[in-house]
Amino acid sequence: MLGKLIKHETRATRRIFLPLYGALLILTIFTKLVMAIGAPDFFSEAASNNTIAEITLGISFTLYFILIVGISVMTLVMIIQRFYKNLFTDEGYLMFSLPVKTWELVLSKLLVGLLWSAVCTVMIVLTFVIFSLGTFSMMELTQAIQAAYQTFFVETGMNLNLFIAELALFLAVNTVASILMIYVAIAIGQLFSQHRVVAAFGAYIVITIVLQIIGSIFMAVFAIGNLDILILNGRSAMSTIQWLINGSTILNVVFGAAFYYVTQYIMKNRLNLE
């Protein structure tokens, strides 16, 4: 049943996102073509003599940025709206009478939310790649990357791959925890008989404050326990950063699990649709 929920959740959201990403790709390719044909030196200091191409590029880059911002905002809005509207307004009467478990409802929304967040990131990277096509050679790029790995190893004594993996894990866990924090705030809002949206906002703010306090305590304990490392030199500065990243990842796992549990507990035991 989880698979079916994910399928229908994807159907309900793709009708918004596919046209947006289609528009983004078309705009990117158009911009790239104009740049390649009309103004190859657009980003360099050299003055160009093709004014029409320059103006077109100015407009299409503006559109590009508006579209990127719009898609990012839309992704966040959809994550909130699909959870709130589909589960806690009139549509909830249908969703909660489906023969599925409550945790499957939460998980399907979360996974599809993550899917669109990932698509958003991948598409932005893809547009960068399209823009930069032909402006660098594969060999130069490989050499630059190799050099970066070496410099990193010399300066920190660490493998850059490990650091990148830890950073990626941190970002992934952080995204999941952020989405679950929105869910738990909305679920807490449902415990109130009136002004549930206001209550959800309130819950979100309170959770943020509590997390800040816990985070500060964590940092303080960490700092006191590692005073020697804080007297920085190259190597231990890096390991301090590594400690902070991994510590935050673990904290986010704990918070995320708590948010998920509370969300599905409220939905299962305290559900009261308006």
């Binding site: 049943m1 309900a12 009139d90 549509e91 249908l94 009478s97 023969p99 599925v100 305290r270």
Partner: protein, 231 residues
């Protein structure tokens, strides 16, 4: 065999009790009218049976099980709210129901849509409130469920469609299935009911078969209702 039974079922919202100490047994193969004035706890009872609310105390069982994913597969619930997404076409909603409910009979649904002249390619947002209610009722009655919970099924539709819908209800359910209909439009549905349950201020005040009422009280259900709930 009972399809639904309760044991001191109680539901309160804060301090206010919406249902208190309800004990009942609903046998299979019956059409039951859940009747009571506004705010008497009819919807609360139906939501508890549908698994949309959790009892404050006491228990409710559908076919011997507490409401959950398993019972929801056997229960076809029509909410008083319009619960379909506006952006969907009727045909997309049919796919949705077909995917989630194994007992959904798509052909039956398509035939009923045709009878009521509803185009499957229309989007919900282009429809009137009454048409949406018809679509919802068609979806709910196209399932071969064991228990139908219909919360105010005929409130917003015109009398002609009302007759069609009532006819659909009687002809569509399996013999061993039961139908619980909550309404205050008693006169309209009286002729299809086997049993009635009067509910007032969260309490079950009368539970009886329609024949019994006619014999012992020498009144129609509508007449008895007016007497019991006289303001």
């Amino acid at each position: 065999m009972t399809i639904l039974n309760t044991n001191n079922l109680t539901k309160s919202y804060g301090k206010k009790a919406a249902l208190s100490q309800i004990n009942m047994e609903v046998p299979r193969g019956r059409i039951i009218g859940l009747l009571g004035p506004n705010g008497s706890g009819k919807s609360t009872f139906i939501k508890l049976a549908a698994g949309l609310l959790v009892p404050s105390s006491g228990e409710i069982f559908i076919d011997g099980q507490a409401p959950g994913a398993l019972t929801k597969a056997k229960v076809s619930y029509l909410s008083e709210r319009s619960y379909l997404s506006d952006w969907m076409r009727v045909s997309e909603i049919l796919v949705f129901f077909e995917d989630f409910y194994e007992d959904f009979n798509r052909i039956k649904a398509e035939n009923m849509l045709k009878d009521l002249a509803i185009n499957p390619d229309d989007r919900l947002k282009t429809m009137s409130k009454g048409t949406k209610e018809k679509v919802q009722l068609i979806l709910v009655m196209s399932r071969q469920a064991e228990l139908y919970l219909l919360d105010e099924p005929i409130g917003g539709v015109d009398p002609a469609a009302r007759d069609y819908i009532l006819n659909t209800i009687i002809t569509n359910y399996k013999e061993e299935a039961s139908v619980i209909i909550s309404t205050h439009l008693i006169a309209d549905i009286e002729q299809i009911l086997d049993d009635i349950m009067f509910i007032n201020q969260g309490e079950l005040v009368l539970s009886s078969s329609v024949d019994e009422i006619r014999e012992t009280h020498n009144k129609s259900v509508d007449g008895l209702f007016r007497e019991v709930f006289k303001c």
